[in-house]
């Protein structure tokens, strides 16, 4: 195995502040939380979605519905991925028709994951609109998709990989680039 250089881009505090800012930006753009729901892409996007929704709820003294999306079934690379994907359940226990959906993921890269998520969301109903929030945008899009809310833009080489580690899944809080 090759030696990998790892550099930390965000620490726990940095992640917290980014999510706080994103929550404010969402509220600003949507003028409050009316009809706004937050849906994260499993698994790390789902954790981020919960945090963003909590932040928004605190600011507005209300509750924002949160859902989690498992996109495995909609992937276009199921036959190519190296590891066999694990199927989880999608958890959206509210009607999305007419809602403004904030779609949350950890890293935005090629845009293919977001494409899957959009396809899946549309199968659940007809939302008023869908906005995209990501913690990290690392560039290299392969589809015409752009984020509405970004925690941090990180220009990366295509060979590099960006890892978001959250305490829910990885016992630590940081964003690192492995190059």
């Amino acid at each position: 195995m090759e030696f990998q250089k790892s550099s930390k881009i965000l620490d726990g505090e940095g992640i917290k502040r980014s999510l706080q800012r994103i929550a404010h930006e969402i509220l600003e753009k949507n003028q409050g939380i009316e009809n706004v729901v937050v849906i994260g892409i499993k698994s790390r996007g789902a954790h981020l979605a919960e945090r963003i929704a909590e932040n928004m709820g605190k600011i507005e003294n209300s509750e924002v519905p949160v859902g989690a999306l498992d996109i495995t079934m909609y992937r276009d690379d199921l036959t190519e991925v190296a590891e066999q994907p694990v199927v989880h359940a999608t958890e959206i226990d509210f009607d999305i028709t007419g809602k403004k959906i904030i779609l949350v993921d950890d890293v935005l890269y090629t845009g293919r994951t977001v494409r899957c998520a959009l396809d899946e969301l549309i199968d659940f109903g007809r939302p008023a609109n869908i906005q995209l929030a990501v913690l990290v945008d690392r560039g290299h899009r392969e589809l015409p998709i752009r984020p509405d809310f970004v925690g941090k833009n990180i220009p990366t080489a295509k060979e590099a990989s960006v890892e978001v580690r959250l305490k829910e899944t990885d016992d630590t809080e940081e964003v690192v680039v492995l190059a």
């Binding site: 789902a46 495995t72 079934m73 909609y74 199921l78 694990v86 999608t90 899946e120 199968d123």
Partner: protein, 326 residues
């Protein structure tokens, strides 16, 4: 969201429960949870197996299993083709191998097979490149039924390990019983089979289970009763003196449950029910019955199996075949 490392699915075919490990059974059940959620969506269809073609080759009558497989395949966006014996070339005397080879020449990916002869799916799997799923072969195995039964038990009672499950009825002719015994014992349940002596195979205890001809013994303390259908079509001679006597001795009726059963007992039946024979009307439609849940779960479990076989990593998996020399 658990970080539990899952084992990859490597088998090309699903021929029986006997050949599965406990981990593989768990893998199927865990996946089925996700697929059950899909069935509850406004549009219960995902594009996962788009472009794959699945053939239902049923050489024995079936409503539930065939429609369940067909629906599972359609929910995953696969194309399905039904071949029923009566209207196919079997009737003209074509051999099983020839029929299969011909269907395969039409570029298909999976064959789901039901056959009156034990071992027919195994024979088929040795002769075709497509994945083969056993949908019931003679009195041998019916793996998907056992998996959906175990899934239903796990869903209703939260676990399988440590439970007492009694299988009641015609054990000798039942592929459902055999597959269930394998699945339940692998998962750590303790199994009792109950029926008239003539319908209990000799030395069945060697599968690691108890056998009894006393219904009371089977019902007392049991968490789950899996009541089997009396298979009149497989019984070429009389195995019990009269139907009335069978109903009296082994039929599950409200008074039997009242006298011997636990309060929260779960009653299953693989269908189709002979109402008034193995299950009385009131029990079949009663509060303990999960028979219709079994049917719903059947679609979810079969989706999980089609998904896993469709994306198997093993040598025989669709992936390697596509990229390989063929």
């Amino acid at each position: 969201m658990t970080k539990k490392k899952q084992i990859p699915w490597e088998k090309k075919n699903l021929l029986g429960i006997e050949e599965l490990s406990e981990e593989e059974i768990q893998l199927i059940l865990d996946h089925a949870v996700g697929f059950k959620e899909i069935l509850g969506r406004p549009i219960p269809k995902v594009p996962t197996l788009r472009g794959k073609t699945i053939v239902n080759l049923f050489c024995e009558p079936s409503t539930r299993t065939r429609s369940s497989f067909e629906l599972a395949a359609k929910r995953l966006s696969a194309d399905t083709l039904n071949v029923a014996t009566a209207s196919s070339s079997f009737a003209k005397g074509e051999s099983l191998k020839d029929t299969a080879k011909n269907i395969e020449a039409m570029k298909i990916d999976m064959i789901i097979m039901r056959h009156a002869c034990a071992g027919a799916p195994l024979f088929l799997s040795k002769n075709v490149d497509a994945s083969v799923i056993n949908a019931g072969d003679g009195s041998h195995e019916h793996p998907t039924q056992a998996l959906l039964d175990v899934f239903t038990v796990r869903e209703k009672l939260g676990k399988v390990s440590g439970l007492k499950v009694s299988i009641i009825g015609d054990i000798a002719h039942s592929r459902v019983a055999r597959s269930n015994i394998w699945a339940l014992t692998k998962m750590g349940a303790s199994v009792t089979v109950c029926g008239p002596k003539t319908l209990l195979p000799a030395e069945i205890e060697k599968m690691g289970i108890k056998a009894t001809s006393s219904l009371r013994e089977a019902v007392e303390g049991a968490d789950v009763l899996n009541v089997l259908r009396i298979q009149f079509e497989r019984q070429k001679k009389a195995f019990f003196p009269s139907l009335r006597e069978y109903v009296r001795e082994f039929g599950i009726k409200a008074d039997v449950l009242e006298k011997y059963a636990k309060k929260d007992i779960v009653i299953m039946h693989p269908g189709p029910i002979n109402r008034g024979v193995e299950l009385s009307q009131e029990v079949a439609d009663g509060p303990y019955s999960v028979i219709l849940d079994q049917v719903t779960n059947g679609v979810a479990v079969r989706m999980a199996i089609l998904f896993l076989l469709g994306h198997a990593r093993g040598k025989g998996g669709l992936k390697s075949r596509k990229n390989g020399k063929k």
